[in-house]
């Protein structure tokens, strides 16, 4: 059997889930033997090839996140989302009780450390969506691994289940929201 192809995306999140992925210690060796990492913040490859498994960290906070999520969904057979942001919205979604305008004004103009600030308007900066959303609000998700960050054991469990041909559902004792 050839290696399972895997791509990862880092959306509106802190990279903690990717850290947790790398935090599997010696299990990483076994996983690396069975998996080929393609596009990922870890490999710095820019485009998604066709892959078996897509891993996604972070909420959908900007149009770029939305586009990336749709792209990876299209290119992968099974989509796993990692972490509270991707599963539920998490920290990025804390802004949702305010309007997008309020959030931008607070961050770029009103913040205590800012003098003469202005809201960035360069076309290179992807605009914020009105709300930061969990990934499953935008594309179909096959497996959820919550946690902030998810425990390396939980990620390992999900990947191992997948490698054995099962769609993983995290057992209760592995569930963590913090």
């Amino acid at each position: 059997m050839g290696k399972v192809k895997l791509a990862t995306a880092w959306l509106d999140g802190c990279a903690g889930c990717h850290m947790s992925l790398l935090d599997m210690d010696e299990d990483l060796v076994a996983i690396a033997g069975a998996v080929e990492f393609t596009r990922s913040p870890i490999t710095d490859i820019k485009d998604f090839p066709e892959v078996d498994v897509g891993l996604m960290e972070g909420a959908i906070g900007t149009v770029a996140h939305e586009e990336e999520a749709r792209e990876l969904r299209k290119k992968c057979k099974i989509l796993i989302v990692l972490g509270d942001c991707a599963c539920f919205g998490g920290i990025p979604s804390m802004r949702n009780r305010f309007s997008k305008e309020e959030v931008l004004r607070r961050a770029y103009i009103e913040s205590e450390s800012t003098k003469d600030g202005k809201i960035p308007s360069s076309p290179e900066i992807p605009p914020l969506l009105e709300q930061a959303l969990p990934v499953s609000a935008v594309v179909k998700v096959d497996c959820f691994v919550p946690g902030c960050p998810p425990n390396a054991r939980a990620i390992k469990y999900a990947l191992t289940e997948l490698l054995q041909g099962r769609i993983p559902v995290l057992p209760s004792e592995m569930m963590r929201f913090d």
């Binding site: 989302v81 509270d84 599963c87 539920f88 919205g89 998490g90 920290i91 979604s93 804390m94 949702n96 009780r97 305010f98 709300q131 969990p134 499953s136 609000a137 998700v141 959820f144 691994v145 919550p146 902030c148 559902v169 995290l170 057992p171 209760s172 004792e173 569930m175 963590r176 929201f177 913090d178």
Partner: protein
């Protein structure tokens, strides 16, 4: 009670008449998830987690509010029900901010626990993100509406157990919020900060500022102990992590027990007062230097022997705080009597005991003492409570709350006779505020009015008129008459009295109050006196009390075992400070330790184990919760080492 049989999950199980379906499930080890249920509180079916299918009912029904009866056929875990439960959880998560990563309750949250159980790894509904405030201005409590699931456990415990009914719901539908009084911030409300709501809260909506983020239950260990701050004697569960107190819970909190007060739950989690950690010698007053145990104990022994030799045993006095457990008090009294030979050993609150005991024996006339008093729980059965000379919500808040609970649950009437401003008076049906010296007049007038006008037996006193008494005591005549009427109509009246009577050092006053108490309760005397120290009753009954006060002893050397007690004013204080040689064994620096010639360190409540007797005679045990600071010795060990040097 009649036994009933019903079928749950195709199995015949037994319950009692009056049980709910949830009660029967719990009694038969059938798990049902719940969020709004807390044992002892009225069930309201708010969270719907315990929904079950009952044959002949058209829809799922909450088990917590459905009365069990013979022949019911119940199913608790069908696929449909489990689907509903997960759906309910998801909806709860969408309603407010239930992101766990920065929540003080994470790891102990019941909502989180159920989400784990139901493997809620995502939520299928849009979140609502309401803009809700967080009330952080109260001294110890935080009310974060964003974490609230509106289960109402705080509302019910505040009204049904604490009896204060500060918390309730405001607004309607999905705008509903928990609120204090008329939508006031907690800190400005009638809240007495007892923290029952914090312990009852299944999520992080109500949490304690002194305990939040300092450690979780899973990271430390709970030690069952006894609160030794006052004489109510509440059982506590102390969560300890790395030799620090993380938090203090009421033991087995239910609707019947486990209540604590602001002092027991929050104020003693940590104290910032400087600890005394080594012996201190002040050879010339004002110049203090740390000393070794050896030097300090030798100095005490030398001085004791010197005074014995020069002036005899009568020149030496020992005083012990009644916050110390029986074992310490007995060791200290034994040392002073047997090893030193002095007859003067007293507790710091000895004068209270002398007044109380003389008053009680004068009233009882049959040699009975404090055993004529009732357990504090008698208050919970009362239909009328008379509080005299006590500020219970301040000094003994849990006892005060028993009265509030009797008011909420039994509609008991409350009459307070207390000159000082006090929170129980504010909540009373009738509050008589006589002048400081008018207590006796009011008590005698009430006795006369109750005995004179009613069917009650008792000798009517000649020469007492309501008008005269009211004038003399400085109270309103009409109020005095109303108070008498209230007492007369009571069937199960309970009298609680405290320092306002006992500090007058007038046993006659105690006896007159007991006569009134006797008169108003036809089923027999129901009266409880509020003792000042956590172990006053234990210390007094173990014989560590003198026949007279320190003022009459004029000793030259005074040894005070204060431990972690506060220095309260009393006739002994000036006398002790004027002694030629003053030894103080104390946990914290205070004006008394500053006046001492020699200070010995003493462990605090959490660092010692021992036996306590509560104000109503219940025996309790405290445990060593923390390791004492290095170099500290137990009070008993210090006393033994002194004894070996004499």
């Amino acid at each position: 009670m009649k036994e009933i049989t019903l079928a749950i999950n195709e199995k015949q199980v037994k319950g009692k008449e009056g049980d709910t379906v949830l009660d029967v499930c719990r009694a038969n080890d059938i798990y049902l998830p719940t969020l709004c249920h807390l044992e002892g509180l009225t069930d309201v079916g708010a969270c719907r987690m315990c929904v079950v299918e009952i044959e002949k009912e058209r829809r799922p029904i909450p088990a917590c509010t459905y009365p069990a009866r013979d022949g019911l056929v119940v199913r608790t875990h069908t696929e449909k029900l489990e689907k509903y439960r997960r759906q309910i959880l998801e909806l709860l998560f969408t309603e407010r901010n239930h992101f766990c990563f920065f929540c003080a309750a994470s790891g102990e949250c019941e909502l989180q626990g159920l989400a784990y159980r139901y493997q809620m790894d995502h939520v299928r509904y849009p979140y609502t993100f309401p803009a809700l405030p967080t009330d952080t201005l109260s001294g110890f409590l935080v009310l974060d509406h964003n974490r609230c699931i509106l289960c109402g456990r705080c509302v019910r415990i505040c009204s049904e157990v604490v009896g204060n009914h500060t918390l309730d719901f405001a607004r309607r539908g999905w705008r509903t919020v928990v609120t204090a009084d008329l939508d006031q911030p907690l800190g400005e409300s009638s809240c007495i900060t007892c923290g029952a709501c914090v312990q009852a809260c299944p999520t992080g909506a109500l949490f304690s500022k002194v305990s939040a983020y300092r450690g979780r239950a899973t990271e430390g260990k709970f030690v069952r102990s006894l609160c030794s701050l006052c004489s109510v004697g509440c059982d506590i569960d102390v969560l300890v992590k790395d030799n620090n107190i993380v938090r203090i819970d009421g033991a087995d909190l239910t609707g019947f027990k486990g209540q604590l007060c602001v002092k027991g739950r929050f104020q003693q989690v940590y104290r910032e007062n400087p600890r005394i950690v080594t012996p201190l010698i002040a050879r010339k007053r004002g110049v203090v230097r740390p000393a070794s145990w050896e030097e300090a104990l030798n100095l005490v022994a030398t001085e004791l022997k010197a005074y014995l030799g020069r002036y005899g045993a009568g020149s030496i006095a020992g005083l012990v705080s009644s916050r110390c457990p029986n074992e310490t008090v007995e060791a200290f009294a034994g040392f002073m009597r047997d090893n030193v030979g002095t007859s003067f050993v007293d507790t710091l609150d000895g004068s209270t005991y002398r007044t109380l005991l003389q008053g009680v024996t004068a009233f009882a006339k049959n040699g009975q003492g404090l055993e004529i008093e009732s357990p504090l729980e008698a208050i919970l059965e009362a239909d009328c409570v008379l509080v005299v000379g006590a500020d219970l919500l301040e000094s003994h808040p849990v006892a005060g709350c028993y009265i509030l609970r009797a008011r909420t649950r039994n509609r008991a009437r409350l009459l307070v006779i207390e000159p000082r401003q006090n929170d129980l008076g504010v909540r009373a049906d009738l509050w008589l505020r006589p002048a400081e010296d008018g207590m006796e007049t009011v008590i005698n007038a009430l006795t006369a009015l109750v005995a004179g006008k009613g069917k009650r037996t008792g000798k009517p006193r000649k020469g007492i008129s309501a008008a005269g008494a009211a004038r003399d005591a400085g109270v309103d005549e009409a109020l005095l008459e109303q108070a008498a009427e209230m007492l007369k109509s009571a069937q199960k009246a309970v009298v609680v009295y405290g320092e306002g009577i006992l500090n007058k050092e007038d046993p006659k006053l105690v006896a007159s109050l007991l006569e009134l108490a006797n008169l108003i309760n036809p089923d027999g005397l129901k009266v409880t006196s509020i003792k000042p120290g956590a172990n006053s009753r234990g210390a007094w009954e173990s014989g560590a009390v003198s026949q007279k006060g320190l003022a009459k002893a004029s000793p030259r050397l005074v040894y005070v075992l204060l431990s972690d007690d506060e220095v309260r004013d009393g006739d002994w204080l000036a006398q002790a400070e004027q002694a030629e040689f003053l030894v103080v064994q104390a946990s914290y620096a205070s004006p008394l330790t500053e006046a001492a010639d020699l200070v010995l360190p003493s462990p605090i409540w959490a660092e010692r184990a021992g036996t306590y007797v509560s104000l109503d005679g219940k025996v309790g045990h405290s445990q060593e919760v923390l390791e004492p600071p290095p170099g500290l010795k137990d009070d008993k060990e210090i006393i033994q080492e002194l004894a070996s040097r004499l």
